[in-house]
Symmetry: C2
Subunit: 320 residues, 2 copies
């Protein structure tokens, strides 16, 4: 397979989109550019200590996910898929000076972990978006690849999110700013979701669908689990809630998509959420898959995104 | 210094408290005991795969903090302080099978990381509380040791929380259960806070105070920072908000204390929050301390908790 390393100023093409001009990252903070130095504390990077344009200027695809091990595995996988294994391109954690997040760069692809939950991904996104801004990146596509609980679909299915909704099935993210609550839209890029869905059709035995993703602040009580340390509702109430979610279009539940959709939208990043489901919540609460099945399921979003990136880069030979 | 390993059924004594009878952990879930197996998924532990009473039955002190590296450092420090360095007591990550959290056990002390933000610590607490229940632990004291932003106090000060408050300065945690919002109290154990404060007096050059801690869902917009990727308010609005917080009794800001206080209270765990402040938010937003100062500050809660645990265990010789 041919090795690729697109130059930062080459315009990206895909089957569906041709960008006219560059799409830069919008930082919406009037104070930022007047700062003498910007320390991206939780990434252990900064504008005075690091040459961010040189380090990141050619990034086109940003992939984020909760688990640091999984994001390292994705980086290793992408290195292989992009034919960069023998090009001296090493996999090292760019954020090794902190244990809050990890980050790997493979050619035009950045792979970053974000921990679990809205606050954790939100800290990372603020600093990542500033990083992309300082590095003068353009035409970025950002994709969250994660795990989730499914509702009424076979475990192992991959859900591409059209809209992220909150616990009340509303397409909104409520951001507390000082002591005000501001409501933000959580719509994702429809064309990107379609493009990813089309990609999935090329992979054999790869159950994929587009649907709403519900994002909660809690894994147990907030997702109607009967197996937490606290549980004050009945099995019937749980099933009723999940069925109402299904009726509202929700096909899976995770814990980061609303803030991810809201922030990316505000900052002009084309964004998608692609999560595999590890169980059907109408059937059970506990994740008790055999280890090898779990590993296989967790690789599915990675495989899809790798195929998508290769298509976008014009590397159409399916290696997987 | 004498080595100690209190037996699990020995009652704990302190300068102030003598417990009459055992205080068990209350799991408030009628479904739990009828489960054939309980898989603590994010800890990679389970009731069928692990002998939890044998592994954890003698635990008396649980210390939690955001950063995995810091919680490992605390474990190493406690091993030294409890004189267990040469007893063959090894430091190994009990949750090594997962990268979501890390966990170390040093005699009666458990040290666990919880990541950043309410959702992340909440997942850990559900599974930790079930672990302590399955292991039949009793008379547990749980302390969160963390970092925070101060308001109107010198950086490096240690704040012992009396009450955790939300972004509106209210002593409450709003838990979404299915699609209802339930409000829970965030009061912490007053006697434990006093006991910790008394401990701090024995440590030279150790600025410590008791105050309210504000817990937010966001590090940037939610804490009034002017240096995020998004900022829609003025410097004046920021300062006004932080001054109102100070007036309401808030002395520091972090991202986990309300749910920690609420869950521990509901489950009968005596709980405290002890955070060092890394900056004064009335002065600045960015954390730009020299590395050695940062390391020194981060060790302060560890030092206080180590002294507290040694006192509780009757090891009054101050080794630090």
């Amino acid at each position: 397979m041919a090795s690729i390393l697109p130059a930062s100023n080459k315009s990206m093409t895909s089957d569906r989109n041709t960008y006219v001009g560059k799409r830069f990252v919008h930082v919406k903070n009037p104070y930022l550019d007047s700062m003498d130095e910007d320390i991206l504390y939780h990434l252990d990077l900064g504008t005075k200590t690091h040459n961010l344009p040189a380090m990141f200027g050619d990034v086109k695809f940003v992939c984020v996910g909760g688990s640091p091990n999984r994001m390292k595995a994705f980086a290793l996988f992408m290195r292989k898929e992009l034919g960069l294994e023998e090009s001296g391109e090493h996999i090292k954690d760019i954020c090794a000076g902190t244990d809050r997040y990890c980050m790997y760069k493979i050619g035009p692809v950045l792979s970053i972990s974000h921990g679990m939950g809205i606050p954790s991904i939100s800290i990372m996104l603020h600093e990542l978006i500033k990083l992309l801004h300082h590095a003068q990146c353009c035409d970025i596509t950002i994709i969250r690849i994660g795990t989730s609980g499914g509702i009424g679909i076979t475990p192992g299915s991959v859900v591409i999110t059209d809209t992220a909704v909150d616990s009340f099935f509303k397409p909104r993210f409520e951001q507390v700013i000082l002591d005000n609550i501001v409501t933000r839209s959580t719509e994702l890029d429809k064309e990107l979701a379609e493009e990813l869905f089309n990609c999935s059709k090329g992979i054999p035995n790869f159950p994929t669908l587009i649907g709403h993703t519900m994002c909660t602040y809690d894994f147990y009580e907030g997702q109607g689990r009967l197996d937490g340390a606290l549980c004050s509702f009945s099995r019937e109430k749980k099933v009723d809630y999940l069925k109402r979610a299904y009726k509202a279009g929700v096909r899976n539940i995770e814990m980061e998509s609303t803030v991810f959709a809201a922030m990316c939208r505000l900052c002009g990043l084309k964004a998608a959420v692609v999560c595999v489901t590890l169980l059907d919540r109408l059937e059970c609460d506990q994740i008790n898959l055999p280890h090898d099945v779990l590993v296989d399921y967790q690789q599915r979003p990675q495989l899809l995104i790798s195929n998508f990136i290769k298509r976008r880069l014009g590397l159409h030979d399916q290696t997987s």
